[in-house]
């Protein structure tokens, strides 16, 4: 006992207690509810164990798996486009010698809007009747309004545009921090040796930047579910489930239908998606850092 009180465990106890209360217990409780028919409006159902029934139903639920697949696709496309645009913006701002601070501040503006506001704003832009986009296209002779938020592909593209607008600056800021930290010597040496700009970027800048890329990817892949508000505002997952993502499906099941047990079962299946993305990016991060130190 004395050894325990004097050892490192006693110092770790406050952290462990807080983590247990804030993370572990809610996780265990939600895991338990996924094995029950728990309805928010019927608290007694929390104590009725139904085994894997929720999971069995989900395995055979085509709507769930379509939403799952669409979410994977959405994440893959949105995160990669955000990376490309963020990298482009970071490289451009890094080149600027005058007004860089002002531009950096301006670049962060989209992050300052709450996702709900972003959703409203882009819903208005893509409104088929009074939206800015259709009015703009009308100036160029496109008379028939385009149903941006109804057509299956266009609706997903519209949501993705809103999400990319909102979050590209996260990538830009993190990558700009990386760019500012790159030593100048190797770049100057490469230029003296006759490398062109592309060769310098490909062989020196990008390898230095890769750890930042994967850190940004990891952060965004965990944080991207904030886009729920955007989707909810713009389409609510519809029409006809054409833009249904796991977030809208889980939210509707849990809070509107009040079937929290089923919603938590969906969440636990989708957690594997988050773990897979995070694991992949961490793996790539470690690999990039090892390569950098080797070089």
């Amino acid at each position: 006992m004395r050894k325990f009180l004097n050892g490192p465990w006693i110092l770790l106890m406050p952290t462990l207690i807080i983590l247990t209360c804030v993370v572990l217990l809610p996780l265990l409780l939600s895991l338990w509810t996924s094995f029950t028919p728990f309805k928010l409006t019927k608290p007694d159902t929390l104590y009725r164990f139904v085994g894997f029934r929720n999971y069995e139903r989900l395995i055979g639920d085509l709507d769930f798996w379509i939403a799952f697949g669409r979410t994977v696709l959405f994440l893959a496309i949105a995160l990669n486009l955000e990376l490309v645009f963020g990298l482009g913006i970071a490289l451009l701002i890094n080149k600027i010698t005058y007004g860089q601070r002002t531009l950096r501040t301006l670049m962060m503006f989209p992050m300052m809007f709450s996702p709900i506001l972003v959703g409203f704003q882009w819903k208005y832009i893509f409104n088929d009747n009074i939206g800015l986009m259709n009015n703009f296209l009308r100036e160029f002779g496109v008379i028939q309004p385009i149903p941006w938020l109804v057509d299956g592909i266009l609706a997903n593209v519209s949501i993705m545009a809103a999400e990319i607008w909102s979050s590209t600056s996260v990538f830009a800021i993190l990558l700009l921090a990386g760019l500012l930290g790159i030593p100048k010597d190797p770049i100057e040496a490469a230029k003296v040796d006759g490398c062109n700009s592309w060769q310098v970027f490909k062989n020196i800048t990008l390898p230095f930047l890769m750890p930042f890329v994967f850190i940004a990817m990891t952060i965004r892949s965990l944080d991207v579910a904030r886009a729920y508000d955007i989707v909810q505002m713009m389409t609510g997952g519809g029409p006809a489930k054409r833009t249904e993502l796991l977030w809208t499906l889980i939210s509707r099941t849990g809070y509107v239908d009040a079937k929290m047990g089923m919603a938590n079962a969906m969440s636990y299946i989708s957690i594997f998606l988050s773990i897979a993305f995070t694991f992949f990016f961490f793996y790539k991060l470690v690999e990039a850092r090892q390569r950098l130190s080797y070089e």
Partner: protein, 442 residues
């Protein structure tokens, strides 16, 4: 407690401004030191009441009202469900609705045991019946809603329109009496993308409710007496086909499947829609030249009939409930009465909302007659008749919202052409069967 309520009961004749209503049972008391925590529905059409009634109640009773939450009904619904799950029912009064009330189990107190019979006698008995869940009166009705058909009068008076319509469809162009006529006329008036014949709310409970009332009007039903779904029927397919035909003919805007109530109301006010099925709450807005391009040019008819000879009349009432856990039930009862009193209902009626007290119907119609306000007189007379003769509630079961969430994506899929109406209704029917089975109906 009941003794104090009865002691505070005063039978009085109330005079409010320019109208006089019949004798009303009032429910005042001295509630100094009492603070009632309340969760209310928010939004432009709802908040005017609170601004007048809360200070009035506080002044007359000495009590205080603390508004904990004020948000749209769907968000409020989610919040209350979370409160139930967490057991955190630390409020006394909350907004409610007859279509939502049955979901909340027994968190709301039975007002039959709290409200004196003389107070309850002031409300329309049928509405009180709709406010009752499993024999418990869990809400005091605030105002009722049912929809009727607004239209642009000038379109029906135009000689060219009359001649062209008659030539094309073989009958006179008059405000529609049936939903088939609505379809013909909507297609006739449409000139997309600048002008559309009509529109409909296209998602969530809204479109499910519209489908429901059309199924009833076509002579069908959603469920049998055991709550087995029976809407995948000729009446159901006919109802769904009506939505599909209008969408395919571009007689409604392309984005209609994302529309909810505000979108349709503002759409009609924008002057780009010929006919609009909507509730009375928009009437004042539609006829206000500052807000509406169709002001002064609005006609109104009772909701048309389906092929079964019945008029559509999906109806419900906004209401207020008192939690079972409320520590000051007597004060809360007084506040519930104030929120739905003659004074409160007259305030909302002047904005076009339909009262739940017969006395206020008489009073508002008398007031509009005296003012010579022909438009609002037409609105109140039409809605009074509609509520009396056409209105019907959705099934008052806890699974209603969950059922509508299963139904509406299938309706949308059929409207967009992803599925045939029969396939869509078969899928919805299968899901509805699962929901009802899980709930233990069969």
């Amino acid at each position: 407690m009941m003794l104090r309520i009865f002691l505070s009961l005063i039978l009085a004749v109330s005079f409010f401004g320019s109208f006089s209503a019949k004798a009303e049972t009032e429910l005042w008391g001295d509630y100094s030191g009492v603070t009632l925590r309340v969760k209310l529905i928010g939004g432009g059409q709802y908040e005017g009441l609170y601004n007048e009634v809360i200070p009035w109640w506080e002044e007359n009773t000495g009590g205080k009202i603390e508004i904990v939450t004020q948000k749209n009904h769907f968000e409020l619904d989610k919040e209350i469900k979370k409160d139930i799950a967490s057991g955190n029912l630390d409020f006394c009064v909350a907004s409610n609705h007859t279509s939502f009330a049955s979901q909340y189990g027994d968190i709301y107190t039975d007002l039959n045991n709290i409200m004196p019979a003389s107070v309850l006698a002031d409300y329309t008995p049928l509405i009180l019946e709709h406010s009752t869940v499993n024999g418990r009166l869990v809400q005091m009705p605030r105002h009722s809603d049912v929809s009727n058909l607004y239209y642009q009068k000038s379109l029906y008076e135009d000689a060219d329109n009359k001649a062209n319509f008659k030539a094309k469809y073989g009958y006179d162009l008059t405000p529609p009496e049936t939903w088939d006529q609505v379809k013909d006329q909507a297609i006739f008036f449409s000139n997309p993308p600048d002008f559309y014949g009509t529109q409909y709310v296209g998602k969530e409970e809204a479109i499910a409710g519209r489908f429901y009332e059309l199924v009833i009007a076509n002579g069908g039903a959603l469920f049998d007496e055991d709550y087995r779904p029976i809407f995948n029927s000729p009446a159901g397919v006919e109802a769904l086909q009506w939505f599909i035909d209008l969408y395919n003919a571009k007689a409604v805007p392309d984005g209609v499947l994302n529309y909810l109530w505000d979108d349709t109301g503002l759409g009609f006010a924008s002057g780009t829609i010929a006919m609009n099925l909507d509730w009375a709450g928009w009437a004042g807005f539609f006829n206000d030249p500052e807000n509406s391009k169709v002001a002064g040019d609005i006609g109104l008819v009772r909701a048309p009939m389906g092929s079964g000879g019945l008029r559509t009349g999906w109806s419900g009432s906004h209401s207020f409930s008192m939690t079972e856990s409320c520590p000051d039930k007597e004060a809360a009862a007084s506040f519930l009465w104030a929120l739905t009193s003659n004074k409160a209902q007259m305030i909302e009626a002047r904005g076009g909302l339909s009262p739940t007290r017969p006395a206020i119907w008489d009073a508002i119609i008398a007031e509009k007659k005296a003012e010579g306000d022909e438009f609002m007189l037409m609105v109140f007379e039409t809605f009074k008749m509609s509520l009396a003769e056409d209105a019907f509630t959705p099934p008052l079961i806890p699974e209603w919202i969950e059922f509508t969430n299963a139904l509406y994506p299938e309706l949308q899929a059929a409207i967009l052409g992803d599925k045939s109406p029969e396939d869509a209704l078969a899928t919805a029917s299968k899901k509805a069967t699962e929901i009802m089975e899980d709930a233990g109906y069969f």
